[in-house]
Symmetry: C2
Subunit: 340 residues, 2 copies
């Protein structure tokens, strides 16, 4: 235990606690001489401030909560989320904030209550389950500083990747390689992200004068390779199966490729495949996956910047919708089809 408090320093220096506090905090009503004396003895005595006391008085914790997990309890282990978190953490720490996780088990206390109880200065929500009533409460019913990632919310600043441009770019690329029987397994749920990608998908098709049967658009689960395998099976058993299948993320693309190869269908010779995310491992596959890379680190970084700005300058900050650009990774899982 450090055990040495302002009082001890005050005693050692023969002055009042207030003076010591102000000296250490660099207030200007302290003479340079005593300020130096105080600082020196504080160092000598291995003084450490007590954040709890400081927090109690100032109502600032310099700590930000992260709401990350999905219901399954994973989340951290998904490369995309961990990259977002990484970017967020680095930036927040750079700006002088600690980060902590919001509890999601033993829910006696909701997320909002957890934030208030712990005196957090703000929170970032990066979670697929934005329908959770607790998450909604956190986002809507209060003025607690929050930013969201991958979710557009009309009460909070949000950071998202360029889903429209991304999906449009990726789809256009597939078209330009000569495909016209293109299937898209889009992620589940009512999320705006999903809707935008689907819209961009159709837009790109229209621009290339391509129309696809309704059966080519199927709903699958994000990041769930087995579900992706099942969707792939259904698609390939259609009377006229697609020549290219686009998946909602790299993980599901892997699942699809695994299934295809298990039934003797070659990728990309027989069927082409695209992913989404630009995960590190997608490029270690043979052949490397055609995918759209999301700049997850930067998304986390921007989220931290925006959140902290809104915490420190609440008056001059306003709701923003920030889009972070990604990039097409051509890879090699989309083969060129000669148009005949």
């Amino acid at each position: 235990m450090s055990g040495v408090s302002l009082k001890d320093i005050a005693k050692a220096c023969g002055m009042s606690v207030a003076t010591v506090s102000k000296a250490l905090n660099g207030r200007d009503d302290i003479s340079p001489a005593t300020r130096e004396l105080v600082r020196h003895t504080a160092q000598q005595m291995d003084y450490l401030p007590n954040s709890a006391a400081r927090m109690l008085k100032t109502r600032r914790s310099y700590t930000i909560g992260v709401l990350l997990e999905d219901a399954a309890g994973s989340g951290l282990t998904h490369e995309y989320f961990s990259r977002v978190l990484q970017g967020f953490k680095n930036e927040a720490e750079m700006l002088g904030y600690d980060i902590t996780f919001l509890r999601n088990v033993n829910r006696k206390m909701g997320f909002l209550e957890n934030c208030l109880y712990r005196g957090l200065d703000g929170a970032v929500v990066v979670n697929k389950d934005f329908d959770d009533p607790e998450v909604r409460k956190l986002l809507n019913e209060t003025s607690f500083p929050c930013v969201t990632i991958d979710y557009v919310c009309n009460t909070r600043t949000s950071i998202e990747s360029d889903n429209v441009k991304g999906m449009h770019t990726l789809t256009s690329y597939v078209c330009s390689e000569g495909h016209s029987r293109i299937a898209y397994i889009h992620g589940e749920g009512e999320a705006e992200v999903t809707k935008r990608r689907v819209a961009a998908f159709y837009t790109a098709l229209e621009e290339n004068d391509i129309s696809i049967p309704d059966e080519y658009l199927v709903e699958g689960k994000y990041l769930h390779s087995k579900d992706a395998a099942a969707c792939t099976k259904r698609l390939m058993e259609l009377p006229k199966p697609p020549t290219c299948i686009m998946y909602p993320d790299d993980m599901t693309a892997f699942g699809g490729i695994e299934y295809l190869r298990s039934v003797g269908i070659r990728v990309p010779e027989d069927v082409s495949v695209t992913g989404y995310d630009g995960s590190e491992f997608s490029q270690r596959l043979l052949p490397p996956l055609t995918t759209y890379w999301q700049n997850a680190e930067k998304m986390g970084q921007e989220a931290a910047k925006e959140l902290i700005t809104s915490i420190e300058h609440p008056k001059t900050s306003y709701l923003k919708r920030i889009t972070i650009e990604g990039a097409l990774w051509k890879g090699d899982t989309v083969r060129k089809i000669e148009t005949n």
Copy 2:
């Protein structure tokens, strides 16, 4: 701001703050009637305790610090570490503790100071850089509750995977497939983990009456695929190159495979390869990687259990060295060699 404190409840109920506090904390010198009254009004008034005040008085934060990052600023994004963290987080939250990261940038305050300043109850250290003076200070110079992962430290309980058994099993498997020209790229540094694996490697060779030239044992960087490629190159340019290369982890194995294939060497037909870790993506490769799976989630989980036990029962807890078992994943990157 919640804004309602014990004082407000006391006023509303017409009793003292002390009684309210004790009623809410379930002390036994409060009559059931008033306890119910207090609880009810507390709920009515949306009362939330203030953790800072509570912390200041009780000197308990119910928060654990995680020291994870390596110098490069990554760590979170490595599947192995994120799995450890995941296991730790889930278990700690189940036991009623929050977790937060220990700051590693802007180091005005060391890790230990950071823990004391923030009133953390304990810390877990999962970091390759155990030579960092700050880390050493945290582990050695104090009685602050800590556990380490993947690092044996004679002052702290440590959790490690069964490196000896793991490397022994993996090497034995390679031998049993008929290989005798086996190279091993071991991770860098003086870490005990590395030493144990090297020892187990040699032990397994001896048991199979195999001796290898010294050039077959090279030092490479953990998790660094480019460095692995360079090491692989050197190995393959030896007069008598190995028939199997064992890498320190899956990531480096990928790097090695990439290099080999880029120069037209087939895996496993020409050269066999093994990894270490059992990452999810190692099984998505074609062919799936031969590797030794480490039960990272369980390591994190056990670390949390041990740490919290030592926090809550300091008297009856003692230093332990806990080993978590993994398992051989045979995969398909080691080919059988007919012995002639």
